[in-house]
């Protein structure tokens, strides 16, 4: 009798798990409003049954690939990680006979990845909370002219170090290789006035409550905050772009479906739809033509006049060394 119950329970478990096995592939991203938009614009329209999972975790990717049990098929990762992981043998080469890369922004295409979306670190300011808003990185690092707390991205990634160097007077075309000593020295001057944000939602909370009335933010989060009625100003002066990438972990069991998914997600239509929902820029050069011109104007791809491209190849090579130093500096 006991055995019967045990087997029935086992069968029920297997039965419940079956729909998961029936999906064509698994897509993984960072959660929140971004993944919601990716689900609506890409996953539900790619002609595949796509299971959502997350958040993206580089430790998990490495563990899966090493163990040979890869359950993630397409993952949204940071651009510098995509380059590094491709070189480290953690990713599948993309099949460009399925994915049309002729229309894709070449800045974000490698053998192992295509751009997922791209964003800018911009200077955001809560106009109700302060008399004057900082317009440049130099302003944001000037605590005499703009007293108060400023918000910056906490994790080691392209953005803050570049901002510090620009604020210190380094010319935009002379940024790389990054002068880390100089950057940290500049950051030291405002360290006690920095409030770190760990994710998009927190950055919005800090700005809206004026806990930090200005700082460096992802442009899409400012657009979203503005829609809720907060008086936010965005300065695109020296906006620093970085992109997320779509990659396929090595050993994915649904490679064909993964390539098909990426082909759709990077298409002009899918990219335009995602950009409209998220406030991030499309990585397909054909997308802006498909979008509402008023909306397209607010995206980073239209702000190239004073734009700085974070050098993903440089970051991929130096990611670990910079990260180790970055966290040590923060903890000091």
């Amino acid at each position: 009798m006991k055995n019967v119950i045990a087997w029935a329970a086992f069968a029920a478990t297997v039965g419940l798990a079956a729909p998961a096995c029936a999906a064509d592939m698994v897509f993984v991203s960072w959660g929140g409003t971004t993944q919601d938009a990716q689900k609506a614009a890409w996953a539900e329209k790619a002609g595949l049954s796509v299971l959502q999972d997350g958040p993206t975790d580089y430790g998990k990717i490495k563990a899966m690939v090493e163990a040979g049990k890869v359950t993630w098929d397409v993952v949204d990762v940071e651009g510098d990680y995509a380059v590094q992981a491709g070189d480290a043998g953690l990713l599948e080469k993309l099949d460009f006979s399925v994915i049309d890369k002729s229309k894709l922004d070449p800045r974000f295409v490698t053998d192992y990845s295509v751009g997922s979306f791209y964003y800018s670190f911009v200077i955001g300011c809560n106009q109700d909370a302060v008399k004057a808003c900082p317009k440049t990185w130099a302003d944001l690092f000037d605590t005499a002219k703009f007293p108060g707390k400023r918000a910056f991205y906490k994790w080691s990634a392209p953005g803050v170090i570049e901002a510090a160097l620009l604020a210190d007077g380094v010319a935009a075309d002379k940024l790389y290789p990054l002068d880390l000593d100089r950057a940290f020295k500049k950051l030291d001057t405002i360290k006690k006035d920095i409030v770190w944000w760990t994710g998009g939602a927190q950055s919005q909370q800090l700005l809206a409550s004026a806990e930090a009335p200005f700082g460096s933010f992802w442009n899409g989060r400012l657009t979203a905050l503005e829609k809720t009625g907060v008086k936010v100003s965005t300065s695109w002066d020296g906006n620093i772009t970085a992109a997320d990438s779509l990659v396929v972990p090595k050993g994915s069991k649904n490679k064909a479906a993964a390539m098909k998914f990426i082909a759709y997600a990077s298409s002009a239509k899918a990219q335009a739809e995602f950009a409209a929902a998220s406030g991030y820029a499309p990585t397909n050069l054909g997308s802006p033509a498909l979008m509402d011109p008023a909306l397209a104007k607010t995206l980073p791809d239209q702000q190239t006049a004073k734009q700085i491209n974070a050098d993903m190849t440089y970051w991929a090579k130096n990611r670990d060394a910079i990260g180790t130093r970055w966290y040590a500096w923060q903890a000091k």
């Binding site: 430790g59 760990t198 409550s209 903890a331 000091k332």
Partner: protein, 297 residues
């Protein structure tokens, strides 16, 4: 009934086995432990061992990771932070928890029950939600600072978040039940007549507290304190959100190594240090107080 006693003796380490009883321990209770144990071994012990092993094999065999961990001022500071925060949280939890447990123990059941309800209910609320709530309350533009400024009590907002104060407040609030519950159990078991006897024998209130009450409560306090201290050592979410980067604790460092820097060698080394410290504290607790304070008798 006899079976229960025998099983209890077996669990107690077999020291109570009377001569004449079968020497072979009954398989029953152990069979019950096997599935749980197996689960722990396969899904906990083995992966932990695998990670720890990496600390001496990655990137190359040797103890370079440990040397890097101990040789760096930054990492030493993070170790120091971890112990400092854990100690402060433990002390504050005891200081607040003892009066609460005491009050609960002497209040009539009908009054104590709702207070218990509040205490337990707070444990059921999502940790992240509670931490974010503290953030909103404590920040410079938060409710507390705005009220104090509105009342004219302070001119500039008090820094209560992104520092040690924030971590201490947030973690003490989360740890409080773990101090109150064991203390309450110990205090309830004390016969009030003992204190009356102390008074009759001429003890002052202070003497009664120091010589009679405290020794009786000590195992409960030690159990609560150890539980809070050990849990605090490995805490991640609350310090990461309410503390500043200068208050970084070990768990956050490990998460950085494993997830962000994908440096599992260093992650394993830091994890081993944390594990060794925790086990050492546990061994100390067992030596000083036996299992008495941990719920056993």
């Amino acid at each position: 009934m006899a079976g229960v006693t025998r099983q209890a003796a077996a669990i107690g380490g077999g020291t109570g086995l009377a001569p004449g009883r079968p020497r072979r321990l009954p398989a029953g209770p152990f069979a019950l432990v096997v599935p749980g144990l197996l689960l722990l071994v396969v899904f906990f012990a083995l992966p932990v061992l695998a990670l720890l092993l990496r600390s001496v094999t990655e990137p190359e065999p040797g103890f370079a990771n440990y040397a890097a961990l101990i040789g760096s001022g930054t990492y030493l500071k993070i170790f120091f932070n971890t112990f400092l925060v854990s100690a402060v949280v433990t002390l504050v939890s005891l200081a607040i928890g003892f009066p609460v447990a005491w009050t609960l123990a002497i209040l009539p059941q009908g009054v104590a029950a709702p207070i218990f309800g509040v205490l337990i209910l707070s444990m059921w609320t999502n940790l992240l939600t509670r931490t974010y709530a503290w953030m909103v309350l404590l920040q410079r533009t938060g409710v507390i600072n705005k009220s104090l400024i509105g009342l004219g009590l302070i001119d500039a907002p008090l820094p209560m978040v992104n520092n040690l104060t924030g971590v201490t407040i947030g973690m003490t609030y989360i740890m409080l039940p773990f101090v109150v519950l064991p203390l309450y159990g110990v205090i309830r078991r004390i016969d009030p007549a003992i204190l009356q006897a102390a008074a009759l024998c001429g003890a002052s209130r202070f003497q009664a507290l120091r010589l009679v009450l405290l020794p009786l409560v000590a195992p409960g306090m030690a159990a609560g304190a150890l539980m809070v201290f050990v849990m605090s050592l490995g805490y991640f979410v609350t310090p990461a959100l309410l503390g500043g980067t200068a208050n970084m604790m070990l768990a956050e460092l490990i998460a950085q190594f494993v997830q962000s820097l994908v440096n599992w060698g260093m992650g394993g080394a830091a994890a081993l240090v944390l594990l060794v410290v925790t086990l050492a504290l546990y061994a100390l607790q067992l030596r000083l107080f036996g299992t008495a304070g941990l719920g056993g008798r």
